[in-house]
């Protein structure tokens, strides 16, 4: 706020606008609340997001209550009475919850080690590659690599284990969620941990706290906020798994996730109302879990958050 005092919040009179002075009080009043020509620069982007994100969401919400046949709740009643549809929630949670927990919990000890590494750029660069390539390519790669004749099963055979079925089932999707999800959670956790002021840990060390005590009493409480956000982001991503569930899983069986149900409603049955219903239910479940995580965090730890981050 302090360095903002120097430039005038409204353009000088010669800025080329004819209406200057027409209603100076209102203009000045608005400018004092930081509403001027510069603020208007945000308008196109706001309108764009409103038109192509907020409006479609509301449209989909309303559309979900306008089924092809039946009363306004018919789609929701159909979803929750047909096991072929409502089972997808369980199937998706059965993938998303373990994958999220594995990714986030593993990222903590790894990030604790890597943060002391001087040259960690090589590692972070390699980990960005699977994020960049995306789930479709990871799925195709894992089909080769984990397949019955792939390198992974050949290596297991060298160690004396028989071929393990790793693709076209639950395991394949889980492994792809870890391969494309872990780099994301790890880089996020790493940035939170490196953001914690190292002098706090040094102080505890000086006072005789061992590494384990330093982690539980200093790092973890300061990390709680970041971990909650990490869990939320990671969960909503894994909950909306689609390409790998189709390509690497068994899309008619164990990995028939909720996004497949939404896709089939929209592009195989052309029932956009039902598709919107499934999308809304997907959104509700994500919202519920995110709310749960954030309120659990508030219960576990109350206090200053951020740990010396700017």
């Amino acid at each position: 706020m302090t360095d903002r005092a120097i430039p005038p919040p409204y353009p000088p009179p010669h800025a080329g606008e004819g209406r200057v002075g027409a209603r100076p009080p209102l203009r000045v009043r608005l400018a004092l609340r930081d509403l001027d020509a510069v603020t208007l620069l945000a308008l196109p982007a706001i309108l764009f997001v409103a038109a192509l994100f907020v409006y479609p969401f509301l449209y989909g919400f309303v559309l979900s209550f306008k089924p092809k046949a039946g009363d306004w709740l018919a789609n929701y009643r159909k979803f929750f009475s047909d096991p072929f549809l409502y089972d997808t929630i369980g199937a998706t949670l059965w993938l998303a919850v373990p994958a999220t927990l594995i990714n986030v919990l593993l990222s903590i000890p790894v990030a604790m080690r890597v943060r002391r590494l001087q040259r960690r750029r090589f590692l972070t660069t390699i980990l960005v590659v699977p994020i960049t390539l995306g789930t479709v390519l990871i799925a195709e790669g894992l089909l080769n690599y984990l397949g019955p004749q792939g390198w992974f099963n050949r290596s297991l055979a060298l160690l004396g284990f028989g071929p393990v079925p790793l693709v076209h089932n639950y395991t394949g999707v889980m492994l792809s969620l870890i391969m494309s999800g872990f780099p994301f959670t790890f880089l996020l956790t790493l940035s939170y941990i490196t953001g914690i002021d190292p002098s706090l840990e040094q102080a505890a060390s000086t006072l005789g706290a061992k590494a384990r005590a330093r982690f539980w009493h200093i790092i973890l409480p300061l990390l709680a906020q970041g971990l909650a956000i990490n869990l939320c982001l990671s969960f909503v991503q894994t909950f909306s798994v689609f390409p790998s569930a189709v390509l690497l899983g068994s899309p008619a069986g164990a990995t028939r996730v909720i996004s497949i149900a939404a896709y089939q409603a929209a592009y195989e049955q052309y029932d956009y109302s039902m598709a919107s219903t499934v999308a809304m239910i997907m959104g509700f479940v994500q919202l519920a879990v995110v709310t749960l995580i954030l309120s659990a965090r508030a219960l576990v730890y109350r206090g200053a958050v951020g740990g010396g981050k700017g």
């Binding site: 969401f57 559309l63 994020i131």
Partner: protein
Amino acid sequence: MAQHKSIAERLWAIAIWALVIFFVVNVIATIAAVAVNSLGTRWFGAWLPAGFTMRWYISAWDEFQLYDVLIVTFQVVGAVVLFSGLLGAPAAYALARRNFPAKQFVIVLFLLPMMIPPITFGIPLATVLYQAHLGGSLSGVILANLVPTVPFVVLVMIPFIEQIDPRIEAAARVFGAGTGRLFLHVLVPLLTPGILAALLLVLVRTIAMFELTFFTAGPDSQTLVVALYYAVYAAGVRANQSIDAMAVVYMVTSLVWLLIALKFVDPTQIVTRVKREAH
């Protein structure tokens, strides 16, 4: 903190590093499996293919109409980069320089399309685009891809703009620069690294953006990643090596830009800019 470590601590450290190495080896092997298969003549029951050839690339180029797909991909990516810059950069400037009422609300509005996964909002978005007769066309694909990238540019650029001292702009005004000259001679040169970083990240993300393109693309507006999905989905129709040749073309397209992007940004920035604003 240089104390002597117990055996348990050493074992723990070794276990963690073994895990990291195992993970990295698997990532490299997964990608290498695609590349090796695309170059192999016949690969069955062995560690490596019987021989190496380039012919799968030629057949993939014809079978999957890769030329057309690549043209569409570059058109989509180019338009998305251009428009997300044009819409996002001015908004970032406004949000960085002004503290208007409801600013927090606007920030949340920009955060939501990045936090909510594309699958969740993609189907209602595609429905609206089809209603507007934009679905299945190039412009529909571009509009859908802009939904997460415009907020992304805004949120990535806000810190870049905040670090520029407003007094520099004030000084330019004092010396008589109008808005146009201020923009061209002061803001653009100072903001170039920020704009470049944001747009390169948009480029990399758009090449890999599967869901939104998949929901809105018609037969003539598929990008490379969607074409790859359809090819893998219909595996068995075409030779496996041919699909992998297309996968390699996709990887090269994406990783070249990633390498360029990494000249300007830290790898962690690809995920962490989201978090900075998420507090």
